[in-house]
């Protein structure tokens, strides 16, 4: 087997702060290499450094050898010549990586035309074949805005690999996809492996398992453990690797609270329908949420989960249907927990002041705050800091505390852990479910991860389903 890509002591630093410790690896023909680790572990930087796409204050050191040539020394213009031809990269957020104004088939055809040198009709023909090969024949003329997350990722895969590069680098390629769509992407990567080699960066254990090959486990920019996929996943040696594997929802214990007696409904929905951007999000939606009930809402990104939440909370009008809330309940007791914790707190103001303002505004009992923080395993000292000075997991727990302080009847939690690393995510979800149950607060838990919902919810509502 010939070595396609050799990385020697590659490190990334920004203004003398090392973000990625020196790392060496080699990628041979027909090999799959998976880098496993939580967000912020420097995995994405590795891919960007290999491509030569590091944003400006970041600098790479070490050597990246492609067919024996150190491409790290190439001028940017020459290095760009390798893109698509030698090195292909699958984007992390396919929706953002696709031109919103260009039909799907054109975005692949242009690669055949301008990189492959085919004539326009031939390029379009090849593009259609590729799209049909990944089950997108019916969507060839659609715009990216009309594709689901899984479809967009498959389109991006076709576009990225149309240039014929033997080496495919994939940076979190399954982010935000549900299990079935995640498996489709993993299958595509296995196919790319047959034509060359694949380097995948992911925090998803299941993707790593399906790709097989070699796995490197990384934490805080350092290599923790490495080995063959089957062996490493079955018998992890390092404590961190074990925690990472345990954090995958399929290894969670079932933490669904026991179902009580008949619950009085806090929210009843009848025949709800909504379209957005000319696309039907859902119709004929029926749902009853009882007190303290935990209900999962699953579906791909972009299928209307967030819109549903805004409609249920009265922030967005529905196109039709009926929503009934419990009578004579203040509006602020139907609350939302946001996906991106930093976006939900005013920056630059101490968190304690934000809580004080809330307590003052609603004339709450201040004494409830301390036990609530304790229940969510939060140090009261965090309140002295501003939102940028605490971690994402802590901030999301503070957001939960802030919501529960208002004694809500219903909490719409919109992908509350998708921006958190898997170990933290598991902890936050468990605390959310437990503390809401203790307060008899119903939770509508939104996630693309069906496994997670099965382990935590009384029952699950699936949205969309139109691929």
């Amino acid at each position: 087997m010939s070595v396609l890509l050799q990385v020697e002591a590659l490190s990334v630093s920004a203004n003398d702060v090392t973000l990625l410790e020196p790392l060496s690896l080699s990628l041979k023909t027909g090999e799959a290499l998976t880098i496993l680790g939580e967000t912020g572990a420097g995995k994405s930087l590795l891919v960007q450094a290999i491509m030569g796409l590091l944003p400006s204050p970041l600098q790479a050191r070490g050597r990246v050898l492609l067919d024996g040539q150190d491409i790290g020394r190439l001028k940017p213009a020459l290095r760009a010549r390798l893109w698509g031809r030698q090195l292909a990269m699958l984007p992390q957020e396919p929706w953002h990586a696709l031109d919103p104004l260009m039909p799907a088939e054109q975005q692949v055809a242009e690669v055949y035309r301008y990189v492959g040198g085919l004539s326009a009709p031939d390029a379009l023909e090849r593009s259609r074949q590729d799209l049909a090969g990944v089950g997108l024949a019916g969507a060839a003329e659609r715009l990216p805005g009309h594709l689901s997350g899984g479809m967009a990722q498959r389109l991006a895969f076709c576009a990225a690999t149309a240039g014929g590069a033997p080496i495919v680098l994939a940076d979190e390629p399954t982010k935000g996809l549900d299990a079935s769509r995640r498996d489709q992407v993993a299958a595509l990567l296995r196919r790319a492996r047959e034509r060359g080699a694949v380097l995948t960066v992911t925090h998803n254990i299941e993707v790593a398992r399906q790709l097989g090959g070699h796995i490197l486990v990384m934490r805080d920019g350092r290599l923790v453990e490495q080995g063959e996929a089957e062996e490493l996943l079955a018998r992890p040696k390092d404590g961190y690797t074990r925690a990472l594997i345990g954090a995958d929802p399929q290894h969670w214990p079932d933490i669904t609270p026991t179902d009580g007696a008949a619950r009085e409904p806090v929210l009843t929905v009848r025949g709800l329908h909504k379209s957005r951007g000319g696309r039907l999000l859902f119709e004929g939606l029926h749902m009853t949420v009882g007190r303290g009930e935990i209900i999962g809402i699953s579906g791909d990104s972009g299928c209307g989960k967030s819109s549903l939440g805004d409609i249920l909370l009265g922030l967005l009008p529905a196109d039709g249907g009926e929503i009934r809330r419990a009578p004579q309940i203040a509006r602020h007791r139907y609350l939302k927990l946001y996906q991106d914790p930093p976006a939900a707190f005013a920056p630059g103001i101490p968190l304690g002041r934000l809580f004080d303002d809330l307590i003052g505004l609603h004339r709450l009992d201040r004494r409830r705050l301390a036990p609530l923080l304790q229940r969510l395993r939060l140090d009261p000292g965090l309140l002295q800091r501003t939102s940028v000075a605490v971690s994402g997991g802590e901030l999301q727990r503070l957001a939960i505390a802030r919501a529960l302080l208002l004694e809500p009847l219903l909490l719409f939690a919109d992908e509350p852990v998708s921006r958190l690393d898997p170990i933290t995510a598991r902890e936050v979800i468990a605390l959310l479910v437990q503390s809401a149950t203790e307060q008899d607060c119903a939770v509508l838990l939104v996630s693309h991860d069906l496994e997670l919902l099965r382990k935590t919810c009384h029952h699950v509502v699936s949205l969309g389903g139109r691929a």
Binding site: A80, G84, P91, D99, P100, L101, P103, V115, A160
Partner: protein, 312 residues
Amino acid sequence: MMTLVAKRLLQAALMIWSIGTLSYVLMRLLPGDMAFRIAAGRYGYDNVNLAASEAVRAELGLDRPAWQQYLAWLADLVRFDLGDSLVSGLPVAHEVSHLVLHTLQLAVAAFACAVLLALPVGLFAAFRAGGWFDRCSLVASAFLRAQPVFVIGLALVLLFSLHLKLFPVAGFNGSKYLVLPAVSLALVMAAVSSRVIRHSAVGVIRSAFFDFSRVKGLSFAQSFWRHGVRNAALPVVAFLGIQFAGAIEGIVMIESLFSWPGVGHGLAHAVFNRDVPMIQAAAMALGLIFVGLNLLVDIACYLIDPRERTEP
């Protein structure tokens, strides 16, 4: 598409009625005797006397109650009759259409100059964002935009007409007379639009889909042509439409400065002479240009953005 046009047509009708009414009311509120002012406009201030102004009053029916005159105007408007000029006695529609042609000539020339200037400047600044050219063009654009348009016009007159004697000072007699007023307007327009173009292009170049296009293997030029131009054009077209409309106010000033026989110039004279039908027609013409521009922008955005077409 048709709903788009229908909406704009309705807007145009509403605009014609409201502008006509408003200018009528405003002219009534101006101090001074209307008949006297009109007579002065016809015969000159030196030749006007009480008898002349009374004759004008009787002839035009200015002694009727205001609401009767207003209703008469409204009834004429429904028949597409804008009336005759109170001063020259000629049909207003005829006079104004002359003026509008001149104004459009000036506006289109200025707009073309502005685009020819702003596009390369904006794009070059975007390709070297943060470089010396980008920063210089920012300073220049801020400086130009901070000047009232007539100051720029005067500066150009001083330089090119009086000093270099390249172009005539003012008036209208052939294409040479078009250059200075058009360039004055164009400078002001290009000052802002070059920055909008620069900003929009930088946004696109830094976007994830632009990066991805490069990663797919397309060159910078190919990526910019295939993905950059269309995405960057949307905000630029929308802005140029608004700016073109805004330039109409500048046109009133520039036309007066260069004695350009356009709507703005005509409007100013009509106000001095209390020539109400002329004022109404000139204001309506400006308003119609405004609505027409918006329609063009709508259609342009509709053609650029395929997403619009799939909306129900």
